[in-house]
């Protein structure tokens, strides 16, 4: 069982068949539907959201295509308020009758709800950053283009007697958020995800590469394939090492998983103030402003970061904003909803729509050179929280662990289970590489850029026989 994740934006463009983008509503169309719903509303206030996506993907395994597809979706939701009572209803049908039924359902639900003393009325119109996450090249990508990008990689894998498996997905989505106070925000976004695993037929070697992008034309499918293939070859016949505390070089995928879980899921002001969070201060309150992490750690969100452009709006329709979460090791911000912000007399801090960890200048080669004995880790798998008090996480390494001895990679190693906290890890960062766009299997669903990290004393608690 794995944690379910937020849906990725989805899209598809028709090649061969000249259809229309039925579910990608224009701003004018989204506004028209929104107005129609608002006109139907009899509630004191009302929130309307719309979303749609079109997607195309090629999935492959054992060097061949498996389940290739082109799904699409369309969603509309209405949240109605009577005083401090709220109720919402969602659907996939934009016909007049369906919209009227949706409004009625949300109003009936609201009327039956008890008053919520923490109810916050909708906000008025806001200023938003300009959206920058849409790519025409991604929208124009066809299934044939996806297959053409993958085919040479599969041929190379076959030529080297390897088995390649993976997933290449392109999507376009739209979303809008509006309310009866006159707020309306609309954006389109593009999303590309590519991951590839190459394995040796004897099952002793496995390599992986993967990332996300907005622009399909800038995704280097061949280069990612080459990394996975190279790692599969080099990871064959691993040696079994003792578990323990190791100096590790964590590649960006591994870092993005740990940072995403920490900032995306644990950085919460209210739970810290309530005494149930890693950022809780003994005796009450939170550790905001304290040096909780190492001085070389800075993490921020910026919806217009060119490396990882994010959505322009966040919770409750609040504008996504540049937010520094950790600045030189100091805990600067925790996510804070509007009610808790009002109660504690601070400004709301909406959740991130992208995440960036500031990088450094140390190359991976230099990190290897300065490591007497350590491990290079490609990525992690099946990460779960063991203790929320310390954000202790467990999970496993996967698809390429390499032993470093006296400044050189000497062997491939068996995978390990780790039991480590990103809070502890970010106090033991010895060097940082440049920040790059990265993807891990535990992605929290927002674009993330992180560096490769050289980390001291990373706890690996047992060895896994899995390859």
């Amino acid at each position: 069982m794995r944690r379910s994740k937020p849906d990725r934006p989805r899209r598809t463009e028709c090649d061969g068949y000249h259809g229309e983008h039925l579910v990608i509503l224009s701003e004018a169309d989204a506004q028209a539907i929104t107005q129609k719903i608002l006109a139907l509303s009899k509630a004191d206030s009302c929130i309307v959201t719309l979303g749609g996506s079109e997607e195309r993907h090629v999935r492959f395994a054992q060097n061949m295509a498996t389940t290739n597809g082109s799904p699409s979706s369309l969603d509309v939701s209405v949240e109605s308020h009577f005083g401090k009572k709220s109720g919402s209803a969602a659907g996939t049908d934009l016909s007049d009758g369906a919209l009227a039924a949706l409004v009625a359902a949300s109003e009936n639900t609201a009327k039956l709800a008890p008053e919520n003393p923490e109810f916050m009325p909708p906000i008025g119109p806001q200023k938003y950053p300009a959206p920058s996450a849409f790519s025409p090249a991604t929208q124009a990508a066809t299934s044939a283009m996806l297959a053409a990008a993958i085919q040479p990689v599969l041929q190379q894998a076959q030529a080297k007697d390897l088995q390649a498996s993976g997933f290449l997905n392109v999507g376009t989505s739209f979303s809008s958020f509006a309310n009866s106070k006159g707020l309306f925000v609309y954006e389109q976004a593009s999303d590309v995800l590519h991951t590839i695993t190459a394995r040796t037929p004897d099952g002793t070697g496995s390599g992986w590469a993967g990332t996300t992008h907005n622009d399909f034309s800038k995704l280097d499918v061949a280069a990612l394939g080459a990394v996975a293939i190279d790692k599969a070859v080099r990871s064959q016949k691993p040696v079994r090492l003792e578990p323990g505390k190791y100096t590790v070089i964590l590649e960006p995928s591994a870092v993005s998983d740990l940072i995403g879980i920490l900032v995306g899921e644990e950085f919460d002001q209210r739970s810290a103030d309530e005494g149930r969070n890693f950022a809780t201060k003994k005796g009450g309150g939170s550790r905001l402003g304290e040096n909780v992490f190492g001085k070389n750690v800075t993490i921020f969100s910026d919806p217009n970061d060119p490396l990882v452009p994010g959505s322009i709006y966040s919770d409750d329709g609040l504008p996504a904003q540049r937010t520094v979460w950790i600045d030189g090791g100091v805990l600067k911000n925790l996510q804070c909803g509007r009610y808790w912000a009002q109660k504690t007399k601070r400004a709301p801090v909406p959740g991130p729509t992208s995440l960036t960890m500031t990088g450094g200048t140390t190359s991976t080669a230099d990190m290897i050179k300065q490591t007497k004995r350590g491990l290079l880790i490609t990525r992690f798998w099946y990460i779960r929280e063991v203790d929320p008090q310390t954000v202790l996480l467990t999970g496993l390494t996967r698809d390429g662990v390499f032993l470093i001895e006296n400044g050189e990679i000497t062997k491939s190693a068996f995978n390990f289970r780790f039991n480590e906290s990103p809070v502890a890890m970010l106090n033991k960062v010895l060097a940082l590489g440049p920040s790059v766009r990265a993807y891990g299997e535990e992605s929290i669903g927002i674009p993330t850029a992180v560096p490769t990290l050289l980390v001291d004393e990373f706890t690996l608690s047992s060895v896994s026989d899995a390859v």
């Binding site: 794995r2 944690r3 028209a32 290739n68 597809g69 799904p71 996939t92 009450g284 099946y382």
Partner: protein, 512 residues
């Protein structure tokens, strides 16, 4: 970007009609899709028209935080064209859109053909014309929402009265309606309902900055609202608050090797991760290598591998009352109800779970009915039926299992869980941990997690409870596939005793 919404609006009447499709309308759309696929040269095609009605309620302490309902409807067309799969989906169930979507599925398959090193070949699947409805007493969608909310707030109140500082509760209800039509001739309509309760209480010691939580033990079920009415949520909430308080003062576990007695509220998830997933044929074939992973259960081990002790019998079924995987037919149109099969028999690995197009690759005739798509816009892939550890045919109580333990730990409920991509190395936590000393339960322990390797672990099992101790656990969100799909699945289990298992202390004293 062309303005396309109004195409939808022009078809508003048709769309409204589609939402209220009767069987005649569905059969007509099936003919449209399957005829178009056949005309385009597909050797196989199917259409799934689905409608998911949902309700989600969430409360915190004395306050309702969310009350929402929804209907999510649409269809997918899947085609096999010259041995290559293609599929496409749409939320607009009109005749024109079914035509367009079928052409899109064909186009996807054609575009992917250069990558088709080996053609997919499907076995013959029997033809069914049938309707299957999950039996239930009380439809949760007929229960007034205010009645449900009142119940939830009463449960939180019980927890707070018993000393919890915080209490959260969520009830989720889903009605899944699927219409399946395939080019082999099947036409199948099915309806089932899922109920997913979630509760948690938390206590805080502000002076020390420590806190502890206790999650509820009520599993999700394929049941009517009678399940909610029949479960003692109030009693459990009060007990949970006391137990969370006790956790704060519990003795830290000393790491080492222990005999474990695992309550079925803990063991069902171990069954899921270390038996359910390793015995999925698509993993063994390498089809999940890039994401969910492969498995140590390679086909050469079928019928040979001593997976566990001779007490270990694991059955796959689609018939168990309350099971989240209980259904008449799978999403390949293969009959599944009443077709249980053993996965582990007397400790030996004897069967994989399969979907169509797989079994013949290991020399077997046909699918055993384990395909599932989590939505109308997903491709059906092999997913778990109810996979359950069978009770001891001889009388054996929890007390009997504890009696033969000198130094051990009894673990109740699920905590964190993690297992490697080939399903060897696992680590599981729990909700409650009790010391066992000389056959008797002692005080509560904290910071416990157990690690093991699947085959070694199951071979260390030397005692299991009888049928009176059987418990049906489950999860609504098992993840697999790309794009990722989440499947609901149930697992029956009985308490069981395992010898010499590695136990960790998970406290990190270096993090203040």
């Amino acid at each position: 970007m062309p303005s396309t919404l109004f195409l939808g609006m022009r078809n508003a009447a048709a769309i409204e009609a589609a939402d209220k499709l009767d069987l005649t309308g569905k059969l007509h759309l099936a003919d449209v899709a399957l005829d178009a696929a056949k005309a385009a040269g597909a050797s196989y095609a199917d259409l799934r028209l689905c409608r998911y009605q949902s309700e989600y309620l969430e409360a915190r302490e004395h306050r309702l935080e969310q009350s929402s309902s929804g209907v999510n409807a649409g269809f997918a067309v899947r085609v096999l064209l010259d041995g290559t799969w293609g599929y496409a989906s749409s939320p607009l169930a009109t005749e024109d859109e079914v035509q367009r979507t079928t052409q899109l599925a064909i186009e996807v398959a054609k575009a992917s053909q250069p990558l088709q090193l080996r053609k997919f070949v499907l076995e013959d699947v029997p033809v069914y014309h049938d309707r299957w409805d999950m039996p239930m007493k009380t439809d949760p969608f007929q229960v007034p929402v205010d009645e449900k909310i009142a119940k939830m707030l009463a449960i939180n109140e019980a927890a707070l009265k018993a000393g919890a500082d915080y209490a959260t509760i969520a009830f989720a209800f889903v009605r899944e309606e699927k219409f399946f039509a395939s080019s082999v001739g099947s036409r199948i309509t099915q309806t089932r309902v899922r109920i997913m309760p979630e509760t948690e209480v938390t206590v805080v010691d502000k002076a020390t900055g420590k806190f502890a939580s206790r999650a509820g033990l009520a599993p999700p079920r394929g049941s009517g609202y009678d399940y909610i009415l029949g479960y003692d949520f109030i009693g459990e909430a009060a007990k949970a608050a006391e137990q969370a308080r006790e956790k704060l003062k519990a003795k830290p576990v000393e790491p080492g090797s222990y005999d474990l007695v695992l309550d079925p509220s803990n063991l069902w998830l171990t069954v899921h991760e270390s038996v359910g997933h390793p015995t999925e044929l698509d993993r063994a074939l390498g089809w999940e290598a890039n994401f969910a992973g492969t498995t140590f259960c390679t086909p050469d081990k079928l019928g040979k591998l001593k997976y566990g002790s001779t007490l270990m019998n694991v059955i796959a079924d689609r018939s168990q009352e309350g099971g989240l995987s209980t259904v008449g037919y799978d999403d390949d149109g293969v009959r599944s109800v009443g077709t249980e099969f053993p996965i582990i028999k007397d400790g030996i690995f004897v069967n994989y779970q399969t979907a169509i197009g797989q079994a013949q690759l290991i020399g077997q005739e046909r699918s055993n009915g384990c395909a599932f798509a989590d939505s109308w816009d997903s491709f059906p892939i092999q997913r778990m039926p109810n996979v359950s550890l069978q009770p001891n045919p001889k009388t054996c109580s929890l007390h009997d299992l504890l009696a033969d333990v000198k130094r051990g730990i009894y673990i109740v409920g699920n905590g964190s869980w993690s297992i490697d991509q080939q399903r060897h190395n696992f680590q599981f936590g729990g909700q409650l941990f009790y010391e066992i000393k000389n056959g008797k339960l002692g005080g509560m322990l904290r910071d416990v997690a157990y690690q093991g390797s699947t085959v070694e672990f199951w071979n260390s099992m030397d005692g299991i409870g009888d049928k009176s101790t059987y418990f049906l656990g489950g999860a609504p969100n098992c993840g697999k596939g790309q794009p990722e799909q989440t499947a609901p699945v149930s697992h029956g289990a009985v308490p069981a005793r395992f010898r010499h298992v590695a136990v960790l202390n998970t406290e990190r004293k270096d993090i203040s």
